[in-house]
Symmetry: D2
Subunit: 250 residues, 4 copies
């Protein structure tokens, strides 16, 4: 059984900040959001976790391997270097959606995302009993995206197709398994899953082929942290590429 | 009539680079992609253009106000500071999708996105006859996203709803008007449009309400550049907020 | 005759900010200072200017080619993305030290560097009559620094020698010519100079050899902007390398 | 007795890279160097170490608390995100200069800083027996730098005075104590020292007052890591400010 530790990272009072005293230049907001995400990716990633940009004002991280002290330091370093602060909620569960439910509630309980009074919440439960199989990462990509889309269609039509495939997969994986799926660029989607078998991944791929007409393949890995599970998943995806298969486990 | 100048930014040979000699740490890829986007946002944004992260290995920019020399400098500065290079294709049209079609073809004609032989393409047509009304930007957001989703549901379920709304809007606007819509974080979507009227925006909002059950509102702006059109659109969106309306023009 | 436009960039109220409510993590301050400098280097550099990190809370830029609107935008983009703001003073003169005197006074006149009441000063005079020969850049480096120091001594002893050479050059060039010299990394020093001849550069090099026992060579360039003068100076320095000379003009 | 673990970070083959195929834009080099330093500051700093930008192509870090695996990861993440790679040498000694001597030799033994054949060296000795008193950090600043210099002189003349004070202190501390001193911005210098007493710090301050006519004060801290020693030193420096003293120990 898995034990996924998820952290919700929510920028405090961001909506109001972006329009006070008046709307700010959009490209400055894009720059700040992206660099904040990049810093989180480095902080969490160098501790073997994963962060997904999600909505940028709200980001989801797999933080198996990071403890309370790590989370405190993360808040402090953001406070020292950005014009905004972040609240962090943490949860653990074998079903990722449940872990995120806990993480989100811990932040919501302390106040609204658009409250000037709520800042730097840090609450939740950490994975005290770490095991080698706590995390499952599934790395999906689109079969021959370059040949079918990137080298043939205009970029927006390629993008629409990838987005439709992603939207289909994200709904299916959440409803069927409580798994959380995130588009990570190119034609890649990374899912944080409970312990699923080969047949369940084949079913997910078939569902997306039927509903969105996008053909996916997937590599699946396991490990005590997101990085270890994820790098194994990437290697398994390379196996798919060489073997011509749709589902490979590390 | 509009005259939107769009630039496709495509990282050269990126797919192969990410797995050579073997798969790279995912969080390092996320960091690099995000910081590359942030640098593009600053370069283009400080010249009053807009860039959208799109798929990160392929990004779409509205570059009215940037000429060939600006594009050459952009390529050079990326080459000097990143482990990758970018190809740039440029097109102009009153329908954004057509401009992007041209921009994409210019890059595709030179070679595949996954070719080791193709690097730093720079080709296309620039908007030689700039006018005050060349660009239309529509800034959509979700009515009371904080109250309905962010402060109530777990983050992934909030995210799914926003994504479904975005997927519906992006398809509709592309098919009905050749407009290009991009999620920019939070509950915000920015569309690059031809010259549309109030009724057309109301129709788009109704379509998304029906298909995805997400209630949008929109502020619309015009200008010689994306920034000027976009900042006007943001102010119009604030008017929606104060007036309680769904569509406002700057 | 030269006409160097210099901008002083001073972070507002920085000293107090770094210790309020209590001293901040040093590495976070280093990160923020360096990234602020890097952003200035990109903004100014992509407009063909130069910025030198100087003391990080006070930075000196050669801004021929940047006007008042550019300076306003620079302030705005920093305000939108950093936890600090900057004041800018601008001056023009054929002697760089005089231009910097003006630039500094404009900021000082508005208030102290450690005043909570003074923020985002923008004042000074701009170079309205730009000419092809307005800027002189001299690019010095140490002859065979790698062979003599980097590959032989421990890093701090290499560093001390380079620093002593820099300290000697900076004092001499300021006193003799009103030129401003900045260490830019490695064994490189860039000086912003008035119109000097070959003999004057030889004299500077001899002075440093005598006083600090460091052997410099220099490439000198001219142009309407710092970048054009500076890239010419770099090429001239390469001529020194190939010709075995100590002073070369582009 | 102290046990300072120092790491030399040296960019591989950087000199040649900056001029191949021809000299690169100076502001792009400045941007890349500064951001590389900032990333090192975050990686090392979040593990409670310190990094000093030194010459940018060669940087010195106090890495008590970072082991071999941390150093390997640091190299990997740089390789994945920058157009350059770094070599790392590590040494431990109670006299910082000796630790740096070892660290530097480990890199030099493997090849020249300007060799195309040498890349990503990782060699040296780590501090296996960590103790609470391993590191001494002394944080110097200039008495009333704002009143005496920043608010009164032009920025370059302020800068010259601070530089002269720094040059004097760096030489004295290295020769008298094998301590390594680094300018960190503003009017601040941080020294990595062996175990020194109050009289020795007073002597250093008097030396600099005599030789460079710059009046320093200092806060001194100790700890198992640079951060713990350094934050204690910052607080001690605040004591100097409130007490009106020149030397305070945490």
């Amino acid at each position: 059984m898995t034990a996924t530790q998820l952290t919700l990272v929510q920028i405090d009072n961001y909506g109001p900040w972006t329009v006070t005293p008046e709307p700010r230049r959009e490209m400055d907001l894009q720059t700040m959001q992206s660099r904040l995400f990049a810093d989180l990716a480095q902080f969490v990633g160098s501790r073997d976790g994963y962060v997904f940009f999600t909505r940028f004002d709200n980001m989801v991280a797999v933080t198996n391997g990071l403890d309370l002290t790590d989370h405190e330091l993360l808040q402090e370093t953001i406070r020292n270097r950005y014009p905004v602060t972040v609240s962090l909620g943490v949860g653990v569960d074998d079903r990722p959606i449940e872990a995120l439910e806990t993480a989100t509630e811990r932040v919501q309980d302390a106040g609204s995302a658009q409250s000037a009074d709520r800042a730097e919440v840090l609450a939740g439960e950490f994975n005290g009993d770490a095991g080698d199989d706590d995390v499952r990462i599934a790395h999906f990509d689109v079969n021959d995206a370059t040949g079918k889309y990137t080298d043939r269609l205009n970029e927006f039509d390629s993008f629409i197709r990838i987005e439709q495939g992603y939207a289909s997969l994200m709904r299916y994986m959440r409803e069927a398994h409580g798994a959380l799926s995130f588009f990570v660029g190119g034609d890649n989607v990374i899912s944080v899953c409970p312990d699923l078998g080969v047949e369940e991944y084949h079913a997910a791929i078939e569902h997306v082929a039927d509903e969105a007409e996008v053909q996916l393949k997937v590599g699946v890995g396991r490990g005590p942290t997101a990085h270890e599970a994820g790098i194994a998943a990437k290697h398994a995806l390379e196996d798919c590429r060489y073997e011509g298969t749709l589902v490979e486990f590390a």
